[in-house]
């Protein structure tokens, strides 16, 4: 069945079963490989995208559940104010190691910052504990989110 989904501001049409997870539509059908596969059960957060601004695990989000909602992926998150600040902070703190989980980390962190410009340590833990990093970059993720939050403060 054909579905048309708004991804990064453009309508994209795909012909797949309605129960196909968004993750595979992005990666295999549309060739947008920035969003990563980690577990397939919403346990690791590698596949995190935004749906109407909310961090969402695309590996368990079926294509027929999206409707008119707006999907944002790592490929376009830099165009949002929070996403740009997070990416900049990630660069400044040299957060990634192998880097595989970082698309998901950045999507979760961007959603946090967009909804909460000055997150506490507990806020960061709550928002980020669904994202596993096997390289253990957690110390730097925390620092980078705080740096991005400072940048938010300066901006207004």
């Amino acid at each position: 069945m054909a579905f048309t989904v708004n991804i990064n501001g453009s309508p994209r049409s795909v012909d797949v079963d309605g129960d196909t997870p968004l993750l595979w539509v992005l990666r295999d059908v549309l060739g947008m490989t920035g969003t990563k596969f980690g577990c397939g059960m919403a346990l690791c957060g590698a596949c995190t995208v935004h749906i109407d601004g909310t961090a969402t695990r695309s590996c368990i989000t079926t294509i027929d559940s999206i409707g008119d909602s707006k999907v944002t992926t790592i490929e376009a998150i830099g165009a949002t104010p929070a996403g740009a600040k997070i990416q900049q902070a990630w660069l400044e703190h040299e957060v990634p190691q192998c880097g595989y989980c970082q698309s998901g980390q950045i999507m979760s962190a961007s959603a946090l910052l967009a909804s909460n410009p000055h997150p506490t340590n507990t806020d960061i833990d709550d928002a980020m504990s669904g994202n596993i990093c096997r390289c253990g970059t957690y110390v730097r993720i925390r620092e980078a989110i705080k740096l991005a939050a400072q940048a938010s403060g300066k901006a207004g």
Binding site: C44, P96, Q97, D126, N131, C135, G136, R140
Partner: protein
């Protein structure tokens, strides 16, 4: 591995020989330097003929291109290695570009492993001297070329920022302008390397070159390869090692939209589809009946019992100092203990995957590997082709940790691709990835010690049994029942122990494959030796730091990191009830490291690691930010294993499946980490793994301090830590 011994041996001989560097004209113009990185212990004898395995090309455009055998998997190699060349060549780091070495076992041998591979924390150790020498040689030739062109004495010229300057007149020529001339210069004599106080780049934090692409989603990993027309496959492999497919009903799978083909192998079934969603859906509808074979009833306890039995008899002597038995007989106090560590999965964030296009007469492969020549060789075998007919495209690695030194997934993907028309990307589900990993081995250890009247150790006896990865992976390095990895951390201890006897028995467990896993031999041995050292201190009723320090008079670098970590951690300062500090000290991967963990144990046994303080002496620091990043990472990796890591077998099947049953430490559990670096100009030690092996004993020793409960088995059993009402 006792790389320190190997490295110092080779650096005394091969590394400093100028004959292992050659220069000439590059194809298409410019200067090319070929250098030969020395081989590992098995081939310690210097080869007669010059066989270069790394290349530096300086083009007419001034660009410096390094082709080398090490891969980037998050450890920062692609930034820190070019720093070595840039330092001596006097160019900006941005002018040095790295190219993935194509698979060629002969050309790109890792000097310390003797094969084309990145592992065992040795990229920097192998490259440290030869790459600086190559940079210096190239600089000398470029200066000579400039002096020649100007008709001046080379001594009046200086290299800086990719140019040669004639100091008296201020004339300048770029390296690009000089590269062709430099290639014609006669071979240079001995080239002096900079002394550490002259370093401009080495020792300064450099931004990693691979970071931007890892932040905006454009980094391409093996799993992201998309050759035109690629289909996606996922698979179910026999849940029991050695089992096979008895019957298969594929009717329902074939009816799934997007499913193209079912591939049946002896011991696996793959569903090939337009996308992974369809492949997984198809796989779920398959009705597969397995013949489990001879391992059908296997359980982890069976393996543990076999290993326990094996440690009752004699084994290969890994190290013997003095007479431990005699000293034991005269000891005032005797202690003995049994330690065990479990099988562990790698659980790299990027699940195993391999893309293959089998075209009959040749085979093309896309993946991320730590050992591309091995990939080529085994793919060729699976494809029934000569190696030169296998083209391998290496990619960024979404977590290596030793998993991507193995080629089991490549062979499997080629078997599938042989039955598929066109390219196919085989992607393991997380469940398949965890249940068909090759695991850090289970080890069973018996250890005993004798203390004199003052409580100091006069005898140390240690015997353990488990798998040798080296014996399978690099057979020539397994000799007389021993290999350089499995015993590292159990022998050559930093402590002065007058009578020490260490034995190892290789026992390969049936029904479960084993592989290298971050911090390899030390991941097991340091837990045992540092846990037991803590037991000795406790038996002697002495402070754990003071006790260790008393044994370090002959190891000043070890003593220094121990003292530093104790000071920074506030060792000895009071802590609340059920909070404790534990210390560990190790000398592995040619790096000295001490850690203090501060751990809180709740009344119901829950363990919270609040803080880890680490002091490290890894010799010369090339990129200090990478050193810190690697230690932060390695500590988290080791904590995951200490707190949760366990792969167990029941009915021949791995019981763990996904991140719910194979837990990984999360940010809300991550401790504060403080790193203190000892600065010196010793040769660099390995950095990628040391932090992992040091943390488990620091944590269990802290738990002892907090609760009085000694843990000799990993992962930490929290039920044993519950406080009785």
């Amino acid at each position: 591995m006792n790389i320190d011994r190997i490295a110092s041996h080779t650096s005394d001989t091969n590394l400093s020989r100028r004959s292992f560097l050659a220069a000439g004209a590059a194809v298409g113009g410019g200067l090319v330097l070929s250098l030969s990185l020395p081989l590992g212990r098995s081939e310690a004898a210097a080869p007669e003929s010059f066989a270069p395995n790394a290349f530096i090309r300086i083009g007419s455009d001034g660009e410096v291109v390094l082709t080398m055998p090490y891969v980037e998997m998050g450890q920062g190699t692609y930034t820190s290695i070019p720093m070595l060349i840039a330092e001596e060549l006097e160019v900006n780091l941005k002018q040095v570009r790295l190219e993935h070495a194509p698979p060629n076992e002969k050309l790109y041998v890792n000097p310390l492993l003797g094969v084309q591979a990145t592992g065992n924390s040795n990229a920097m150790r192998g490259a440290w001297k030869p790459l600086r020498e190559a940079g210096a040689a190239a600089r000398t030739m470029l200066v000579a070329a400039a002096a020649n062109r100007w008709g001046v004495d080379a001594k009046t010229c200086r290299a800086q920022d990719g140019e040669v300057v004639h100091v008296p007149t201020g004339r300048k020529l770029t390296y690009g302008e000089l590269a062709d001339d430099a290639a014609k210069m006669p071979p240079t004599g001995s080239v002096a390397l900079k002394s550490p106080d002259e370093f401009k780049l080495i020792g300064t934090p450099a931004k990693r070159l691979d970071t931007p692409a890892k932040v905006d989603g454009t980094a391409v990993y093996g799993i992201d390869a998309r050759p035109p027309g690629v289909k996606i496959a996922t698979l179910a492999q026999s849940p029991v090692s050695g089992g096979r497919v008895k019957s298969l009903d594929e009717a329902a799978a074939k009816a799934v939209k997007g499913v193209r083909q079912i591939v049946r192998l002896n011991d696996a079934v793959a569903v090939v589809a337009d996308h992974m969603g369809a492949a997984k859906k198809g796989l779920a509808t398959l009705k597969i009946e397995w013949d489990d074979g001879q391992n059908a009833n296997l359980a982890t306890d069976d393996i543990a019992k076999e290993l326990e039995q094996a440690t009752l008899g004699p084994a290969a002597v890994a190290q013997s100092i003095g007479d431990a038995d005699k000293a034991m007989a005269s000891a005032a106090t005797k202690l003995e203990a049994i330690y065990q560590v479990p099988f562990l999965a790698h659980a790299t964030m990027e699940p195993m995957n391999c893309t293959v296009h089998f075209r009959g007469g040749e085979c093309e492969i896309w993946l991320g590997s730590q050992a591309v020549a091995r990939v080529q060789a085994f793919a060729a075998k699976a494809a029934g082709l000569p190696p030169e007919k296998v083209i391998v495209h290496n990619h960024l690695i979404g977590g290596g940790f030793g998993r991507r030194l193995e080629i089991d997934g490549v062979s499997r993907a080629v078997e599938i691709a042989k039955q598929v028309d066109g390219p196919v990307k085989v992607v393991w589900t997380r469940e398949e990835d965890i249940q068909h990993d090759m695991y850090r081995p289970f080890f069973f250890d018996r250890i005993s010690a004798g203390l004199d009247g003052k409580g100091m150790p006069i005898a140390w006896n240690h015997r353990f049994a488990g798998s040798s990865i080296i014996a399978r992976w690099a057979p020539p390095l397994f000799t007389n029942g021993l290999d350089p990895d499995t015993t590292e951390g159990a022998i050559d201890l930093a402590y002065a122990l007058p009578n020490l006897h260490v034995e190892y028995l290789r026992v390969e467990p049936r029904g479960i494959p084993t592989a290298f896993w971050r911090s390899v031999g030390p991941s097991h041995n340091v837990f045992v030796t540092e846990g037991f050292m803590d037991e000795l201190a406790a038996a002697a009723k002495q402070d754990a730091v003071a006790y260790r320090r008393a044994l370090l008079d002959k190891s000043p670098r070890a003593k220094a990191v121990l003292e530093l970590v104790a000071e920074k951690a506030g060792w000895g300062q009071p802590l609340p009830d059920r909070v404790g500090r534990g210390v560990s000290l190790q000398f592995v991967f040619a790096t000295y490291m001490a850690q203090v963990a501060e751990v809180e144990v709740s009344r119901d046994g829950e363990v919270r690691v609040r803080r880890v303080v680490c002091a490290v002496d890894c010799g010369t620091i090339v990129n200090p930010d990478t050193v810190r990043a690697q230690i932060q990472s390695a500590i988290m990796f080791g904590l995951t294993a200490a707190l949760y890591g366990k792969i167990s077998l029941k009915d021949g099947r791995v019981e763990q499946t996904n991140f719910d049953t194979y837990q990984i430490l999360r940010i809300n559990e991550a401790p504060a980490i403080e790193i203190h670096i000892v600065q010196n100009s010793e040769p660099p030690g390995g950095m990628g793994e040391a932090g992992t092996s040091a943390v488990a004993p620091a944590v269990t020793n802290a738990i002892f301090a907090a609760t009085g409960k000694r843990l000799r088995k990993l992962p930490i059993d929290t039920t044993a830590l519950k406080q009785r009402a």
